[in-house]
Symmetry: C2
Subunit: 218 residues, 2 copies
DNA sequence: ATTCACGAAAATTTCGATATTTTTGTTTAA
DNA sequence: TTAAACAAAAATATCGAAATTTTCGTGAAT
């Protein structure tokens, strides 16, 4: 999460904005729930206007829904939107992976190995104790870091930003639809497949592994 | 422009928001220009807070830049960002075109023919009189309609939304970088190539024509 | 019993005033 | 002359109250 705070759109609301965003994509709010600035302000100790601004910004990415004179709410669980998000994420992430494989050097390989090492460690622990809230949060963070590292050498800051947007949207809808934690046993070997293909500089295998991984994620 | 007003994120600011967005992507504002809510309010007869909200929303799509305690401004012309926008647009539009070609029926073909007919008509007129502000605005509208129709049958509302976002971002940066109107002689036959490939259901030719068209656009 | 109309309550939107931060201009010291 | 310190002005951010819109509950008419 730390890395995200350093985003270019840093501002005074940074804590509230990112904290709220994190809670949204971690399914802390029930789909369909009304998000009233007047209530939320109490949790963050700021004014309703500020919350309104933040909610508007989140609505741009589809993380909250807005309707004129009806306010904001958590998007309803929608299998269709979830599928659209999956496909879009595959499109973006495969392109980012291809470019990274082409442009990335030894340093990138090392970062991939590091990210996967952390992820694999946490996934093995989480597999044993899937009720641990703490491990779940760690897994979310490591999963994000792995996928983000995969595309990090694509050379396009725009692609990286768009990837984060669709990653978050996909995660939110996935959790809303599946009602599980989003973790599957197969994750472990799927991530390994992706890592190996990336280190082998095998674009096709990497994209295939990615598409398979994401399709199964729901 | 009418079609866009019917966007899901309809609200009370709809006129101001879309009008301002249109002006941004039509290069009505000089890159780097400071956008002060306090000044802009006079043009729209509303409060500064409302403008601030709208500017925040536009900043989500990259159409305006925001810095904490420094306010908003029109993004500086950047060749690098323009190139990144081109590549991203190619990625999205090619995927949308592929899906439309696969899924679209006779109705879609007819809409493509209609959109191209209008576009070709305007392009020929605009070619003769490139100083006409009115024809330029018509061309912008027809160009958008043609490309939007091309992907309209992709089956994913998410892809369509993302396409609009990158289309606008690309157009804004293109106009900022090239300092021309964005219209080239070759546009006419490039659009025809794309139309023919689409009607022939030739995915590869269509994507190739699209990539060529967009690369040359800058 | 159902529908419609009306009014009260709640929620949302708008707004301008106040507080904070940044920028600008001036003076002073090195 | 340059740099630092300070003060004034401008710009930005925050906030809560007022205006508007929607929602909900009550009662009357079909």
């Amino acid at each position: 999460m730390e890395a995200r705070v350093l985003d270019k759109q840093a501002d005074g609301d940074v804590d509230i904005y990112w904290d709220f965003r994190r809670r949204l994509i971690s399914a802390h709010f029930e789909p369909g729930l009304k998000l009233k600035p007047e209530e939320l302000r109490l949790q963050y100790g700021c004014s309703a206007s500020q919350l309104r601004e933040i909610l508007f910004r989140l609505s741009c990415d589809g993380l909250v829904e807005f309707q004129d004179n009806k306010g904001f709410k958590v998007p309803l669980a929608s299998l269709e939107l979830c599928n659209e998000a999956v496909e879009h994420r595959i499109l973006i992430e495969c392109e980012g992976a291809r470019l990274s494989i082409e442009k990335g050097g030894l340093e990138w390989e090392a970062q991939m190995a590091a990210a996967h090492h952390k992820l694999a460690h946490v996934e093995n622990k989480f597999e044993a104790d899937q009720n641990s809230k703490e491990l779940f949060d760690m897994w979310c963070e490591c999963e994000w870091e792995f996928h983000e590292t995969l595309i990090s050498r694509c050379g396009s800051s725009l692609l990286i930003r768009k990837h984060r947007d669709i990653y978050d949207l996909h995660r939110m809808h996935m959790l809303a639809v599946s009602e599980g934690s989003g973790f599957r046993q197969d994750n472990i070997k799927e991530h390994l497949n992706i890592l190996n293909a990336a280190l082998d500089r095998d674009v096709e295998a990497c994209q295939k592994g990615l598409a398979n991984h994401l399709h199964k994620s729901g």
